[in-house]
Symmetry: C2
Subunit: 99 residues, 2 copies
Amino acid sequence: MILEAALLFVRPGCEAEFEVAFRQASPYIAMTPGYLGHELQKCMETGAKYLLLVRWETLESHAIGFRDSPRYQNWKQLLHHFYDPFPTIEHFESVRLGS
Amino acid sequence: MILEAALLFVRPGCEAEFEVAFRQASPYIAMTPGYLGHELQKCMETGAKYLLLVRWETLESHAIGFRDSPRYQNWKQLLHHFYDPFPTIEHFESVRLGS
């Protein structure tokens, strides 16, 4: 399993509108093969800052399955104009903590 | 529920040693009242970069229950010398995505 993470800086004052748009956009990512779940987290210390976490089966589920799909165009159209600056997206692998 | 998140930059070359220390440190955070779970995620694009995610019942579980406890001293002693720079820790609240 892969974790996609991105800090999202939304234009100040647009938080409520962004959250509505994010709800509308969510099905476009959720319908992707290899999608396992996602969450949007709002920062308590800094206004208009969010953390997006998406769980994928593989890196390719995100990088190809979603990014190269027509669904990504809908996602982009609904959300990208809220970001300033445009976010850096990174991928993470879980470090095993159990024995 | 509160999500604590921190990007951790570990001194290059110390990743394996850091992961061992993190496993040793994990019980100290996990024993805190209000602790719900944690995960350590290693960045796939940038070496020696990690994302720490900790779920807490409340902000106080972390800020007071853990930070003011003797367990935090053990955590600190095991882990803080690996970080360069010292991480910024932030707290997040989940944005409701369902209808």
